[in-house]
Symmetry: C2
Subunit: 288 residues, 2 copies
DNA sequence: ATGAAAGCGCTAACAT
DNA sequence: ATGTTAGCGCTTTCAT
Protein backbone atom coordinates (compact mmCIF):
# COMPACT_ATOMS: atom_id res chain seq x y z
CA UNK A 1 0.00 0.00 0.00
CA UNK A 2 1.80 3.11 -1.22
CA UNK A 3 2.21 6.14 0.99
CA UNK A 4 -0.09 8.89 -0.17
CA UNK A 5 1.88 11.67 1.41
CA UNK A 6 5.08 10.77 -0.36
CA UNK A 7 3.22 10.37 -3.59
CA UNK A 8 1.64 13.78 -3.16
CA UNK A 9 4.97 15.39 -2.49
CA UNK A 10 6.44 13.88 -5.58
CA UNK A 11 3.54 14.46 -7.95
CA UNK A 12 2.39 17.82 -6.58
CA UNK A 13 -1.11 16.46 -6.55
CA UNK A 14 -2.98 15.53 -3.42
CA UNK A 15 -6.08 13.88 -4.85
CA UNK A 16 -7.97 15.84 -2.26
CA UNK A 17 -10.39 18.70 -2.61
CA UNK A 18 -11.92 20.85 0.06
CA UNK A 19 -15.49 21.96 0.61
CA UNK A 20 -15.79 25.17 2.57
CA UNK A 21 -19.25 25.77 3.96
CA UNK A 22 -20.70 27.90 6.72
CA UNK A 23 -22.31 25.17 8.81
CA UNK A 24 -23.12 21.56 8.07
CA UNK A 25 -25.95 21.62 10.60
CA UNK A 26 -27.83 24.10 8.42
CA UNK A 27 -29.99 21.68 6.41
CA UNK A 28 -29.09 23.39 3.18
CA UNK A 29 -25.57 22.03 3.23
CA UNK A 30 -25.69 18.27 3.73
CA UNK A 31 -27.13 17.72 0.27
CA UNK A 32 -24.63 20.18 -1.17
CA UNK A 33 -21.74 18.36 0.48
CA UNK A 34 -23.04 15.08 -0.77
CA UNK A 35 -23.23 16.40 -4.30
CA UNK A 36 -19.62 17.51 -4.12
CA UNK A 37 -18.60 14.22 -2.61
CA UNK A 38 -20.34 12.09 -5.20
CA UNK A 39 -18.32 13.52 -8.01
CA UNK A 40 -15.14 13.77 -5.96
CA UNK A 41 -15.33 10.14 -4.97
CA UNK A 42 -16.18 8.99 -8.46
CA UNK A 43 -12.98 10.62 -9.60
CA UNK A 44 -10.82 9.33 -6.79
CA UNK A 45 -10.62 12.49 -4.74
CA UNK A 46 -10.94 12.70 -0.97
CA UNK A 47 -12.99 15.52 0.48
CA UNK A 48 -11.87 17.75 3.33
CA UNK A 49 -14.67 19.77 4.90
CA UNK A 50 -14.32 23.12 6.61
CA UNK A 51 -17.08 24.84 8.57
CA UNK A 52 -16.55 28.56 8.82
CA UNK A 53 -19.69 29.62 10.65
CA UNK A 54 -19.97 32.28 7.96
CA UNK A 55 -17.51 34.29 10.06
CA UNK A 56 -14.92 36.42 8.30
CA UNK A 57 -12.05 35.50 10.56
CA UNK A 58 -12.62 31.79 10.19
CA UNK A 59 -12.96 32.13 6.45
CA UNK A 60 -9.56 33.79 6.36
CA UNK A 61 -8.05 31.13 8.57
CA UNK A 62 -9.49 28.56 6.26
CA UNK A 63 -7.80 30.10 3.23
CA UNK A 64 -4.54 30.17 5.12
CA UNK A 65 -4.88 26.49 5.95
CA UNK A 66 -5.60 25.67 2.32
CA UNK A 67 -2.46 27.49 1.24
CA UNK A 68 -0.41 24.75 2.79
CA UNK A 69 -0.94 22.76 -0.34
CA UNK A 70 -3.01 20.00 1.19
CA UNK A 71 -5.64 20.15 -1.55
CA UNK A 72 -5.77 20.45 -5.32
CA UNK A 73 -8.89 22.57 -5.32
CA UNK A 74 -11.71 23.98 -3.27
CA UNK A 75 -15.45 24.41 -3.61
CA UNK A 76 -16.48 27.21 -1.32
CA UNK A 77 -19.40 29.13 0.06
CA UNK A 78 -17.89 32.31 1.47
CA UNK A 79 -20.04 34.91 3.16
CA UNK A 80 -17.30 37.49 3.58
CA UNK A 81 -14.31 36.86 1.35
CA UNK A 82 -13.83 38.62 -1.98
CA UNK A 83 -12.08 37.35 -5.07
CA UNK A 84 -8.88 39.13 -4.07
CA UNK A 85 -8.79 37.22 -0.80
CA UNK A 86 -8.46 34.06 -2.83
CA UNK A 87 -5.46 35.22 -4.78
CA UNK A 88 -2.97 33.40 -2.53
CA UNK A 89 -4.70 30.15 -3.38
CA UNK A 90 -4.84 30.80 -7.09
CA UNK A 91 -1.18 31.77 -7.15
CA UNK A 92 -0.37 28.49 -5.44
CA UNK A 93 -2.26 26.82 -8.23
CA UNK A 94 -5.15 25.70 -6.06
CA UNK A 95 -8.34 25.82 -8.13
CA UNK A 96 -11.35 27.53 -6.62
CA UNK A 97 -15.06 27.39 -7.41
CA UNK A 98 -17.40 29.61 -5.44
CA UNK A 99 -21.11 29.32 -4.86
CA UNK A 100 -22.57 32.80 -5.01
CA UNK A 101 -25.95 34.45 -4.51
CA UNK A 102 -25.76 36.78 -7.49
CA UNK A 103 -23.66 37.39 -10.54
CA UNK A 104 -21.01 39.93 -9.62
CA UNK A 105 -19.90 41.49 -12.85
CA UNK A 106 -16.88 43.30 -11.57
CA UNK A 107 -15.33 40.68 -9.46
CA UNK A 108 -12.99 38.31 -11.15
CA UNK A 109 -13.17 38.43 -14.90
CA UNK A 110 -9.43 38.15 -15.19
CA UNK A 111 -8.87 35.37 -12.67
CA UNK A 112 -9.05 31.60 -13.15
CA UNK A 113 -11.80 31.53 -10.54
CA UNK A 114 -15.09 29.84 -11.37
CA UNK A 115 -18.46 30.78 -10.00
CA UNK A 116 -21.79 29.11 -9.71
CA UNK A 117 -24.83 31.07 -8.72
CA UNK A 118 -28.55 30.95 -8.34
CA UNK A 119 -30.10 34.31 -9.10
CA UNK A 120 -31.29 35.06 -5.60
CA UNK A 121 -32.77 38.40 -6.59
CA UNK A 122 -35.01 36.83 -9.19
CA UNK A 123 -35.83 33.93 -6.88
CA UNK A 124 -36.89 36.22 -4.05
CA UNK A 125 -38.83 38.30 -6.49
CA UNK A 126 -40.73 35.18 -7.53
CA UNK A 127 -41.49 34.26 -3.93
CA UNK A 128 -42.82 37.72 -3.11
CA UNK A 129 -44.72 37.99 -6.35
CA UNK A 130 -46.46 34.73 -5.50
CA UNK A 131 -47.59 36.29 -2.23
CA UNK A 132 -48.85 39.36 -4.06
CA UNK A 133 -50.71 37.10 -6.46
CA UNK A 134 -52.45 35.54 -3.48
CA UNK A 135 -53.81 38.99 -2.64
CA UNK A 136 -51.38 40.03 0.05
CA UNK A 137 -50.54 43.72 0.25
CA UNK A 138 -48.72 43.93 3.53
CA UNK A 139 -45.78 41.57 3.25
CA UNK A 140 -42.93 41.29 5.72
CA UNK A 141 -39.48 39.79 5.28
CA UNK A 142 -37.30 38.09 7.86
CA UNK A 143 -33.98 38.58 6.27
CA UNK A 144 -31.10 36.77 7.91
CA UNK A 145 -27.84 38.56 8.45
CA UNK A 146 -25.17 37.64 5.96
CA UNK A 147 -24.46 35.62 2.88
CA UNK A 148 -27.44 35.82 0.57
CA UNK A 149 -29.27 38.34 2.74
CA UNK A 150 -28.68 41.32 0.52
CA UNK A 151 -29.78 39.67 -2.69
CA UNK A 152 -32.93 38.33 -1.11
CA UNK A 153 -33.92 41.65 0.38
CA UNK A 154 -33.30 43.28 -2.97
CA UNK A 155 -35.62 40.82 -4.71
CA UNK A 156 -38.23 41.60 -2.09
CA UNK A 157 -37.92 45.33 -2.61
CA UNK A 158 -38.01 45.08 -6.36
CA UNK A 159 -41.05 42.82 -6.41
CA UNK A 160 -42.99 45.20 -4.20
CA UNK A 161 -41.95 48.17 -6.28
CA UNK A 162 -42.86 46.44 -9.53
CA UNK A 163 -46.36 45.94 -8.22
CA UNK A 164 -46.69 49.47 -6.95
CA UNK A 165 -46.74 48.51 -3.29
CA UNK A 166 -45.29 50.97 -0.82
CA UNK A 167 -42.25 49.75 1.02
CA UNK A 168 -42.59 49.92 4.76
CA UNK A 169 -39.08 49.64 6.22
CA UNK A 170 -40.50 48.33 9.48
CA UNK A 171 -41.51 45.22 7.56
CA UNK A 172 -37.88 44.28 7.05
CA UNK A 173 -36.58 42.41 10.08
CA UNK A 174 -33.22 40.82 10.62
CA UNK A 175 -32.64 37.56 12.36
CA UNK A 176 -29.98 34.92 12.30
CA UNK A 177 -30.37 32.16 9.77
CA UNK A 178 -31.74 30.02 12.57
CA UNK A 179 -35.06 28.80 13.82
CA UNK A 180 -34.72 30.95 16.90
CA UNK A 181 -34.05 34.04 14.85
CA UNK A 182 -37.15 33.33 12.79
CA UNK A 183 -39.23 32.73 15.88
CA UNK A 184 -38.25 35.98 17.52
CA UNK A 185 -38.64 38.07 14.41
CA UNK A 186 -42.09 36.62 13.84
CA UNK A 187 -43.05 37.30 17.43
CA UNK A 188 -42.02 40.87 16.79
CA UNK A 189 -44.27 41.11 13.74
CA UNK A 190 -47.22 39.63 15.59
CA UNK A 191 -46.82 42.13 18.41
CA UNK A 192 -47.18 45.05 16.01
CA UNK A 193 -50.36 47.07 15.60
CA UNK A 194 -50.49 46.18 11.90
CA UNK A 195 -48.78 42.84 11.40
CA UNK A 196 -48.13 41.69 7.86
CA UNK A 197 -50.57 39.18 6.38
CA UNK A 198 -47.70 37.32 4.75
CA UNK A 199 -44.03 36.81 5.50
CA UNK A 200 -41.12 35.92 3.25
CA UNK A 201 -38.48 34.10 5.30
CA UNK A 202 -35.01 34.38 3.82
CA UNK A 203 -34.46 30.69 4.38
CA UNK A 204 -36.45 27.64 5.40
CA UNK A 205 -34.90 27.39 8.83
CA UNK A 206 -36.07 30.91 9.58
CA UNK A 207 -39.46 29.92 8.16
CA UNK A 208 -39.65 26.99 10.61
CA UNK A 209 -39.21 29.39 13.48
CA UNK A 210 -41.82 31.73 12.04
CA UNK A 211 -44.28 28.86 11.70
CA UNK A 212 -43.79 27.94 15.35
CA UNK A 213 -44.25 31.53 16.49
CA UNK A 214 -47.48 31.84 14.52
CA UNK A 215 -48.81 28.64 16.02
CA UNK A 216 -47.73 29.70 19.51
CA UNK A 217 -49.74 32.88 19.04
CA UNK A 218 -52.81 30.80 18.29
CA UNK A 219 -52.96 31.88 14.65
CA UNK A 220 -53.27 29.77 11.54
CA UNK A 221 -51.13 29.38 8.44
CA UNK A 222 -51.97 30.42 5.78
CA UNK A 223 -55.35 31.86 6.84
CA UNK A 224 -53.98 34.41 9.31
CA UNK A 225 -50.41 34.66 8.10
CA UNK A 226 -48.95 33.14 4.95
CA UNK A 227 -45.31 32.05 4.92
CA UNK A 228 -42.82 31.45 2.09
CA UNK A 229 -39.35 30.10 2.71
CA UNK A 230 -36.21 29.67 0.67
CA UNK A 231 -34.05 26.59 -0.05
CA UNK A 232 -36.50 23.69 0.02
CA UNK A 233 -34.74 21.77 2.74
CA UNK A 234 -36.07 18.26 3.41
CA UNK A 235 -38.06 19.53 6.38
CA UNK A 236 -40.10 21.88 4.18
CA UNK A 237 -42.52 19.23 3.04
CA UNK A 238 -42.65 17.53 6.42
CA UNK A 239 -44.04 20.39 8.50
CA UNK A 240 -47.71 21.19 8.80
CA UNK A 241 -48.72 23.05 6.78
CA UNK A 242 -46.17 22.05 4.18
CA UNK A 243 -43.97 25.00 3.40
CA UNK A 244 -44.13 26.93 0.15
CA UNK A 245 -40.54 27.71 -0.74
CA UNK A 246 -37.97 28.38 -3.43
CA UNK A 247 -36.01 25.27 -4.35
CA UNK A 248 -32.43 25.65 -5.42
CA UNK A 249 -31.56 21.97 -5.73
CA UNK A 250 -28.55 21.93 -3.49
CA UNK A 251 -27.28 18.51 -4.47
CA UNK A 252 -27.13 19.61 -8.10
CA UNK A 253 -25.30 22.70 -7.00
CA UNK A 254 -22.70 20.55 -5.27
CA UNK A 255 -22.39 18.25 -8.25
CA UNK A 256 -21.95 21.06 -10.73
CA UNK A 257 -19.53 22.96 -8.54
CA UNK A 258 -17.36 19.88 -8.18
CA UNK A 259 -17.54 19.23 -11.89
CA UNK A 260 -16.39 22.74 -12.68
CA UNK A 261 -13.54 22.27 -10.26
CA UNK A 262 -12.44 19.01 -11.82
CA UNK A 263 -12.66 20.51 -15.28
CA UNK A 264 -10.18 23.11 -14.15
CA UNK A 265 -7.95 20.53 -12.52
CA UNK A 266 -8.04 18.56 -15.75
CA UNK A 267 -6.98 21.66 -17.62
CA UNK A 268 -10.07 21.70 -19.81
CA UNK A 269 -11.57 24.87 -18.34
CA UNK A 270 -11.31 28.25 -20.06
CA UNK A 271 -8.38 30.36 -18.95
CA UNK A 272 -10.50 32.86 -17.07
CA UNK A 273 -13.28 32.38 -14.59
CA UNK A 274 -16.72 31.29 -15.57
CA UNK A 275 -20.03 32.45 -14.16
CA UNK A 276 -22.59 29.72 -14.49
CA UNK A 277 -26.22 30.27 -13.54
CA UNK A 278 -28.23 27.51 -11.92
CA UNK A 279 -32.01 27.26 -11.82
CA UNK A 280 -34.43 27.83 -8.99
CA UNK A 281 -38.09 26.90 -8.75
CA UNK A 282 -40.92 28.19 -6.64
CA UNK A 283 -42.60 25.20 -4.98
CA UNK A 284 -46.11 26.10 -3.92
CA UNK A 285 -47.35 24.00 -1.02
CA UNK A 286 -49.77 24.69 1.78
CA UNK A 287 -48.33 27.62 3.70
CA UNK A 288 -49.45 30.30 1.23
CA UNK B 1 3.87 29.34 3.97
CA UNK B 2 5.35 25.88 4.51
CA UNK B 3 4.30 22.93 2.41
CA UNK B 4 2.06 20.68 4.47
CA UNK B 5 2.70 17.62 2.36
CA UNK B 6 6.44 17.77 2.77
CA UNK B 7 6.04 18.43 6.45
CA UNK B 8 3.76 15.44 6.79
CA UNK B 9 6.18 13.19 5.00
CA UNK B 10 8.98 14.28 7.24
CA UNK B 11 7.12 14.22 10.55
CA UNK B 12 4.89 11.23 9.87
CA UNK B 13 1.97 13.25 11.09
CA UNK B 14 -0.71 14.65 8.85
CA UNK B 15 -2.69 16.83 11.28
CA UNK B 16 -5.73 15.38 9.63
CA UNK B 17 -8.38 13.05 10.95
CA UNK B 18 -11.19 11.34 9.11
CA UNK B 19 -14.85 10.97 9.95
CA UNK B 20 -16.47 7.97 8.34
CA UNK B 21 -20.25 8.12 8.34
CA UNK B 22 -23.00 6.42 6.36
CA UNK B 23 -24.68 9.48 4.89
CA UNK B 24 -24.42 13.14 5.76
CA UNK B 25 -27.93 13.73 4.42
CA UNK B 26 -29.35 11.61 7.22
CA UNK B 27 -30.11 14.33 9.78
CA UNK B 28 -28.46 12.36 12.54
CA UNK B 29 -24.98 12.99 11.16
CA UNK B 30 -24.53 16.71 10.59
CA UNK B 31 -24.48 17.41 14.32
CA UNK B 32 -22.17 14.46 14.84
CA UNK B 33 -19.80 15.73 12.18
CA UNK B 34 -19.88 19.15 13.70
CA UNK B 35 -19.01 17.77 17.12
CA UNK B 36 -16.02 15.98 15.68
CA UNK B 37 -14.98 19.05 13.78
CA UNK B 38 -15.21 21.37 16.74
CA UNK B 39 -12.63 19.48 18.67
CA UNK B 40 -10.52 18.68 15.62
CA UNK B 41 -10.35 22.30 14.62
CA UNK B 42 -9.62 23.46 18.14
CA UNK B 43 -6.60 21.20 18.11
CA UNK B 44 -5.38 22.15 14.67
CA UNK B 45 -6.58 19.09 12.79
CA UNK B 46 -8.30 19.09 9.42
CA UNK B 47 -11.24 16.80 8.90
CA UNK B 48 -11.72 14.49 5.93
CA UNK B 49 -15.23 13.12 5.56
CA UNK B 50 -16.20 9.83 3.96
CA UNK B 51 -19.77 8.76 3.21
CA UNK B 52 -20.12 5.02 2.94
CA UNK B 53 -23.84 4.68 2.43
CA UNK B 54 -23.63 2.01 5.13
CA UNK B 55 -22.57 -0.36 2.36
CA UNK B 56 -19.99 -3.03 3.13
CA UNK B 57 -18.03 -2.60 -0.07
CA UNK B 58 -17.69 1.14 0.35
CA UNK B 59 -16.69 0.74 3.97
CA UNK B 60 -13.89 -1.57 2.87
CA UNK B 61 -12.81 0.82 0.18
CA UNK B 62 -12.74 3.54 2.76
CA UNK B 63 -10.42 1.58 5.01
CA UNK B 64 -8.16 0.94 2.07
CA UNK B 65 -8.04 4.63 1.28
CA UNK B 66 -7.22 5.45 4.88
CA UNK B 67 -4.33 3.00 4.81
CA UNK B 68 -2.49 5.34 2.51
CA UNK B 69 -1.43 7.28 5.53
CA UNK B 70 -3.33 10.45 4.77
CA UNK B 71 -4.74 10.73 8.29
CA UNK B 72 -3.54 10.32 11.84
CA UNK B 73 -6.79 8.86 13.08
CA UNK B 74 -10.39 8.12 12.25
CA UNK B 75 -13.76 8.43 13.94
CA UNK B 76 -16.10 5.97 12.31
CA UNK B 77 -19.62 4.69 12.15
CA UNK B 78 -19.39 1.35 10.41
CA UNK B 79 -22.47 -0.72 9.71
CA UNK B 80 -20.65 -3.78 8.43
CA UNK B 81 -16.98 -3.81 9.39
CA UNK B 82 -15.69 -5.77 12.39
CA UNK B 83 -12.72 -4.97 14.58
CA UNK B 84 -10.52 -7.32 12.55
CA UNK B 85 -11.26 -5.35 9.40
CA UNK B 86 -9.60 -2.40 11.05
CA UNK B 87 -6.37 -4.19 11.82
CA UNK B 88 -4.58 -2.82 8.74
CA UNK B 89 -5.20 0.68 10.03
CA UNK B 90 -4.10 -0.07 13.57
CA UNK B 91 -0.94 -1.73 12.31
CA UNK B 92 -0.19 1.37 10.31
CA UNK B 93 -0.55 3.28 13.53
CA UNK B 94 -3.75 5.02 12.51
CA UNK B 95 -5.90 5.46 15.61
CA UNK B 96 -9.55 4.45 15.37
CA UNK B 97 -12.61 5.29 17.45
CA UNK B 98 -15.89 3.63 16.56
CA UNK B 99 -19.43 4.68 17.35
CA UNK B 100 -21.41 1.55 18.16
CA UNK B 101 -24.99 0.61 18.97
CA UNK B 102 -24.19 -1.84 21.78
CA UNK B 103 -21.27 -2.92 23.88
CA UNK B 104 -19.70 -5.91 22.19
CA UNK B 105 -17.80 -7.74 24.87
CA UNK B 106 -15.87 -10.06 22.66
CA UNK B 107 -14.73 -7.75 20.00
CA UNK B 108 -11.52 -5.96 20.63
CA UNK B 109 -10.34 -6.18 24.17
CA UNK B 110 -6.78 -6.65 23.07
CA UNK B 111 -6.64 -3.96 20.40
CA UNK B 112 -5.90 -0.26 20.76
CA UNK B 113 -9.33 0.46 19.34
CA UNK B 114 -11.68 2.74 21.24
CA UNK B 115 -15.44 2.53 21.21
CA UNK B 116 -18.26 4.84 22.10
CA UNK B 117 -21.77 3.54 22.35
CA UNK B 118 -25.28 4.42 23.34
CA UNK B 119 -27.07 1.40 24.74
CA UNK B 120 -29.58 1.01 21.94
CA UNK B 121 -31.23 -2.00 23.51
CA UNK B 122 -32.02 -0.11 26.70
CA UNK B 123 -33.04 2.98 24.74
CA UNK B 124 -35.48 1.05 22.56
CA UNK B 125 -36.78 -0.71 25.61
CA UNK B 126 -37.51 2.68 27.16
CA UNK B 127 -39.34 3.87 24.05
CA UNK B 128 -41.52 0.78 23.90
CA UNK B 129 -42.14 0.76 27.63
CA UNK B 130 -43.38 4.32 27.32
CA UNK B 131 -45.90 3.15 24.75
CA UNK B 132 -46.99 0.32 27.02
CA UNK B 133 -47.37 2.81 29.84
CA UNK B 134 -49.72 4.78 27.64
CA UNK B 135 -51.94 1.73 27.49
CA UNK B 136 -50.90 0.30 24.13
CA UNK B 137 -50.92 -3.46 23.80
CA UNK B 138 -50.49 -3.92 20.09
CA UNK B 139 -47.26 -2.17 19.20
CA UNK B 140 -45.49 -2.37 15.85
CA UNK B 141 -41.91 -1.63 14.95
CA UNK B 142 -40.52 -0.29 11.69
CA UNK B 143 -37.01 -1.47 11.98
CA UNK B 144 -34.63 -0.21 9.34
CA UNK B 145 -32.20 -2.59 7.74
CA UNK B 146 -28.70 -2.29 9.04
CA UNK B 147 -26.53 -0.56 11.59
CA UNK B 148 -28.44 -0.26 14.83
CA UNK B 149 -31.40 -2.27 13.56
CA UNK B 150 -30.64 -5.40 15.53
CA UNK B 151 -30.16 -3.69 18.86
CA UNK B 152 -33.33 -1.70 18.48
CA UNK B 153 -35.44 -4.71 17.58
CA UNK B 154 -33.98 -6.53 20.54
CA UNK B 155 -34.99 -3.73 22.90
CA UNK B 156 -38.47 -3.89 21.43
CA UNK B 157 -38.71 -7.63 21.95
CA UNK B 158 -37.39 -7.50 25.47
CA UNK B 159 -39.70 -4.69 26.52
CA UNK B 160 -42.74 -6.57 25.25
CA UNK B 161 -41.63 -9.76 26.96
CA UNK B 162 -40.94 -7.98 30.22
CA UNK B 163 -44.50 -6.76 30.25
CA UNK B 164 -45.95 -10.11 29.35
CA UNK B 165 -47.15 -9.07 25.92
CA UNK B 166 -47.20 -11.65 23.18
CA UNK B 167 -44.86 -11.01 20.32
CA UNK B 168 -46.55 -10.96 16.94
CA UNK B 169 -43.83 -11.31 14.31
CA UNK B 170 -46.03 -9.64 11.72
CA UNK B 171 -45.67 -6.47 13.76
CA UNK B 172 -41.97 -6.27 12.89
CA UNK B 173 -41.50 -4.57 9.53
CA UNK B 174 -38.32 -3.64 7.76
CA UNK B 175 -37.79 -0.51 5.78
CA UNK B 176 -34.83 1.55 4.78
CA UNK B 177 -33.73 4.25 7.18
CA UNK B 178 -35.58 6.70 4.99
CA UNK B 179 -38.80 8.62 4.97
CA UNK B 180 -40.01 6.55 2.07
CA UNK B 181 -39.28 3.32 3.85
CA UNK B 182 -41.23 4.54 6.86
CA UNK B 183 -44.12 5.66 4.71
CA UNK B 184 -44.47 2.33 2.95
CA UNK B 185 -44.10 0.24 6.07
CA UNK B 186 -46.76 2.32 7.81
CA UNK B 187 -49.07 1.96 4.82
CA UNK B 188 -48.59 -1.75 5.20
CA UNK B 189 -49.60 -1.66 8.84
CA UNK B 190 -52.67 0.44 8.13
CA UNK B 191 -53.82 -1.97 5.47
CA UNK B 192 -53.84 -4.86 7.95
CA UNK B 193 -56.98 -6.24 9.54
CA UNK B 194 -55.61 -5.47 13.01
CA UNK B 195 -53.21 -2.55 12.73
CA UNK B 196 -51.09 -1.67 15.74
CA UNK B 197 -52.31 1.20 17.92
CA UNK B 198 -48.72 2.40 18.33
CA UNK B 199 -45.55 2.21 16.28
CA UNK B 200 -41.91 2.43 17.28
CA UNK B 201 -39.89 3.77 14.37
CA UNK B 202 -36.23 2.77 14.48
CA UNK B 203 -35.21 6.29 13.62
CA UNK B 204 -36.80 9.71 13.28
CA UNK B 205 -36.57 9.77 9.51
CA UNK B 206 -38.61 6.58 9.37
CA UNK B 207 -40.99 8.16 11.87
CA UNK B 208 -41.47 11.16 9.56
CA UNK B 209 -42.58 8.82 6.81
CA UNK B 210 -44.89 7.00 9.20
CA UNK B 211 -46.44 10.28 10.29
CA UNK B 212 -47.14 11.21 6.69
CA UNK B 213 -48.68 7.83 5.92
CA UNK B 214 -50.97 8.10 8.93
CA UNK B 215 -52.09 11.55 7.90
CA UNK B 216 -52.57 10.43 4.30
CA UNK B 217 -54.88 7.69 5.58
CA UNK B 218 -56.97 10.31 7.32
CA UNK B 219 -56.02 9.13 10.79
CA UNK B 220 -54.76 11.13 13.72
CA UNK B 221 -51.61 10.99 15.82
CA UNK B 222 -51.63 10.04 18.65
CA UNK B 223 -55.36 9.32 18.91
CA UNK B 224 -55.53 6.65 16.23
CA UNK B 225 -51.87 5.66 16.09
CA UNK B 226 -49.12 6.75 18.43
CA UNK B 227 -45.56 7.10 17.10
CA UNK B 228 -42.16 7.11 18.82
CA UNK B 229 -38.96 7.78 16.94
CA UNK B 230 -35.27 7.50 17.67
CA UNK B 231 -32.43 10.07 17.45
CA UNK B 232 -34.13 13.38 18.15
CA UNK B 233 -33.12 15.02 14.92
CA UNK B 234 -33.88 18.75 14.65
CA UNK B 235 -37.00 18.00 12.65
CA UNK B 236 -38.55 16.03 15.51
CA UNK B 237 -39.81 19.06 17.35
CA UNK B 238 -40.83 20.87 14.19
CA UNK B 239 -43.40 18.43 12.87
CA UNK B 240 -47.02 18.38 13.94
CA UNK B 241 -47.58 16.68 16.26
CA UNK B 242 -44.12 17.05 17.73
CA UNK B 243 -42.42 13.70 17.77
CA UNK B 244 -41.76 11.71 20.93
CA UNK B 245 -38.32 10.21 20.49
CA UNK B 246 -35.13 8.96 22.09
CA UNK B 247 -32.41 11.59 22.11
CA UNK B 248 -28.82 10.45 21.83
CA UNK B 249 -27.20 13.89 21.67
CA UNK B 250 -25.26 13.43 18.49
CA UNK B 251 -23.09 16.50 18.82
CA UNK B 252 -21.84 15.24 22.18
CA UNK B 253 -21.17 11.91 20.60
CA UNK B 254 -19.01 13.56 17.98
CA UNK B 255 -17.18 15.64 20.55
CA UNK B 256 -16.44 12.70 22.82
CA UNK B 257 -15.41 10.44 19.96
CA UNK B 258 -12.95 13.05 18.72
CA UNK B 259 -11.63 13.60 22.21
CA UNK B 260 -10.98 9.90 22.66
CA UNK B 261 -9.18 9.88 19.34
CA UNK B 262 -6.98 12.81 20.27
CA UNK B 263 -6.20 11.25 23.64
CA UNK B 264 -4.87 8.27 21.79
CA UNK B 265 -2.92 10.41 19.34
CA UNK B 266 -1.44 12.23 22.31
CA UNK B 267 -0.42 8.93 23.80
CA UNK B 268 -2.45 9.42 26.96
CA UNK B 269 -4.98 6.67 26.26
CA UNK B 270 -4.77 3.24 27.89
CA UNK B 271 -2.93 0.63 25.88
CA UNK B 272 -6.03 -1.33 25.00
CA UNK B 273 -9.37 -0.21 23.67
CA UNK B 274 -11.94 1.50 25.80
CA UNK B 275 -15.71 1.06 25.72
CA UNK B 276 -17.36 4.23 26.86
CA UNK B 277 -21.12 4.44 27.31
CA UNK B 278 -23.02 7.60 26.43
CA UNK B 279 -26.45 8.58 27.70
CA UNK B 280 -29.80 8.61 25.96
CA UNK B 281 -33.03 10.23 27.02
CA UNK B 282 -36.62 9.61 26.11
CA UNK B 283 -38.17 12.91 25.08
CA UNK B 284 -41.93 12.77 25.39
CA UNK B 285 -43.69 15.19 23.07
CA UNK B 286 -47.06 15.07 21.35
CA UNK B 287 -47.01 11.99 19.16
CA UNK B 288 -47.67 9.49 21.95
C1' DA C 1 12.90 -4.37 -20.61
C1' DT C 2 14.86 -3.53 -16.12
C1' DG C 3 17.32 -0.91 -12.76
C1' DA C 4 19.60 3.14 -10.50
C1' DA C 5 19.24 7.69 -8.96
C1' DA C 6 17.59 12.33 -8.37
C1' DG C 7 14.66 15.20 -6.02
C1' DC C 8 9.77 16.91 -4.35
C1' DG C 9 10.12 20.54 0.62
C1' DC C 10 10.44 19.92 4.71
C1' DT C 11 12.45 18.85 9.86
C1' DA C 12 15.56 17.02 13.05
C1' DA C 13 19.92 15.63 13.95
C1' DC C 14 24.38 16.91 13.85
C1' DA C 15 28.55 19.68 13.10
C1' DT C 16 30.52 23.79 13.39
C1' DA D 1 23.74 30.14 18.15
C1' DT D 2 23.96 29.14 13.39
C1' DG D 3 24.57 26.37 9.35
C1' DT D 4 24.65 21.95 6.87
C1' DT D 5 22.81 17.59 5.68
C1' DA D 6 20.30 13.27 5.64
C1' DG D 7 16.25 11.24 4.59
C1' DC D 8 10.80 10.69 4.90
C1' DG D 9 8.63 7.25 0.28
C1' DC D 10 7.46 7.96 -3.67
C1' DT D 11 7.67 8.90 -9.19
C1' DT D 12 10.03 9.93 -13.12
C1' DT D 13 13.96 10.41 -15.75
C1' DC D 14 17.90 8.50 -17.48
C1' DA D 15 21.29 4.81 -18.13
C1' DT D 16 22.03 0.28 -18.87
Amino acid sequence: MPNGTARSLRTQRTSTIAAVIPDITNPFYPAFERGVQEVAEARGYDLIVYNTGGIAEKEHRCVRSLQQGRVDGVVAVFFNLKAEDLLPLLRRNVAVVRLEAVKKQTDNLDLPLDNLYVDNVAASWAAVEHLIGRGHRRIGIIAGQSGPRQARVRGYREALAAHGLVLDESLIRDGEFSEDGGYRAMEGFLGDPHPPSAVFAADDVIAMGALMAIRAAGLRVPEDVAVVGFDDIPMARLVTPQLTTVAQFQENLGVRAAEMLLERLDGVAPEYGRYEEMPFELIVREST
